[in-house]
Amino acid sequence: MKSALFTAGILAATAIAMPAQADKLDDIIASGTLRCAVVLDFPPMGSRDESNNPIGFDVDYCNDLAAALGVSAEIVETTFPERIPSLMSGRVDVAVASTSDTLERAKTVGFSIPYYAFENAVVAREGIEMASWEDMKGKTVGATAGTYEAIWLEGKVKEWGEGQFRPYQNQADVFLALSQGQLDATVATVEVSEANVKSGNFGGIKIVDKAPMVPDYVALITLREEYGLINYMNLFINQQVRTGRYAELYKKWVGEGEPADLTIPGVYR
């Protein structure tokens, strides 16, 4: 009698002591699929090959993360303005989409440590005379809505007080407008600019100068309260560099030069 009561009491106690919700890391492993948001009009980080399959640095990172977790990867295509809303609405688990780690965004989403760093370049139409980035003053410039470059460029246009800023919905429209002459110049990462100039899809554009921004560090993002997953992703990024996979993927997708140093000297993290 007494022992029966005792056992019932222990069972009840353990039942109450069970965690109320499992965290996202457990959810992903349990479900067997990692849904990543990837931007696919941003070569070499994300694009489509001739048979329309997603390829790119970000796609490979998503596959690596899924392999490390022991699940299969599902690439969910999003546009730049849609990365964070798709995360907040639960459509994806993480976004491997070259998201710059600004403080404004950190109020809403949780960032990992940087996994890549971009330098930005100014791309102009061939007929325009521009010696340096400052010659963008007074011209019609544009960028992809919601990106780091767009926010910087719009701030500059407001500061100069002259010229016009146009935010287009995706990277392809920006370059189309540039080659058609609707824009005089835009700011994009060096990798995308070189890829687009070389591909010849958009005629009549040229790279003018490096934009004077600090290197654009991009990180993986997930929900702000998922500390388990954020810690896991931090270790994952560290291991990618440690095992040489970061350098290998850099060489495969970007090519020349040394892969960017992901540390900021003088500060611990």
Binding site: P81, R166, P167, Y168, Q182
Partner: protein
């Protein structure tokens, strides 16, 4: 679980910017309606004429405007014309795109209104010695506009809501453009779009109510 914490203060602080955007939206809608009505009257005249070329122009315009998406029309005006060397600002491309769409739908409205006017009106006007154009201008057109007045306010409301398509042509000064930019910066999606929806609702409600008042006043027998 609902994973969102509401922060209304941030969104309400941007209310002045959004109201300025609402003014631009109204401007585009009103201008596009004025242009649309003028073109629609012209196209109605083309339709009534005996010249097959004019009838063909009117028919083509109406077919294209009514059977393709407005988004597509606006996109073509901006990027398609640029391929031929004609560069239009986002404001102009949005305005022309919406006016094109309006003209098509309004021509059909006018056709319906014309069917409601009996033939005897035209015959009586002609027998008084008026030329066909005078008969149209003095007798038929006022009646036509009166009958299609409320359907025209329908189109006006639709034009106001269509201005949100300006996002694809980089229009960032109208209500939707301002809201979208604020969203990209602060991620207060729910709050910002709820406020924008209320502003749109108020604008369209004011338009429909004043149209009804105007109709009651103007069209009293």
């Amino acid at each position: 679980m609902f994973n969102y914490t509401f922060r209304w203060n941030q969104a309400l602080n941007s209310l002045p910017q959004m109201l300025e955007g609402a003014l631009v939206t109204m401007e585009i809608a009103i201008l596009s309606m004025v242009i649309g009505i003028s073109i629609a009257i012209l196209l109605t005249l083309f339709r009534l004429s005996r010249n097959p070329l004019l009838v063909g122009i009117a028919a083509t315009w109406v077919e294209i405007a009514r059977n393709t998406p407005a988004l597509f029309q606006i996109y073509m005006v901006h990027f398609g014309l640029a391929g031929f060397g004609i560069h239009l600002s986002p404001y102009l491309s949005l305005l022309i795109g919406i006016a094109f769409n309006n003209a098509g739908y309004l021509t059909e409205n006018f056709r319906g209104a014309l069917k409601a006017i009996p033939d005897t009106q035209t015959r009586a006007a002609r027998s008084l010695g008026m030329t066909p154009l005078q008969a149209f201008r003095n007798v038929i057109m006022p009646q036509m506009l009166r009958i299609s007045f409320l359907p025209m306010t329908n189109q006006m409301v639709w034009a106001i809501l269509m201005t949100s398509l300006g996002a694809v042509v980089a229009m960032n000064t109208d209500l939707y453009g301002v809201t979208s930019e604020l969203n990209a910066r602060t991620f207060r999606t729910f709050e910002l779009f709820a406020i924008a929806a209320v502003i749109f609702y108020l604008i369209t409600k004011v338009i429909t109510l004043s149209a009804r008042l105007l109709a009651a006043r103007l069209f009293r027998y």
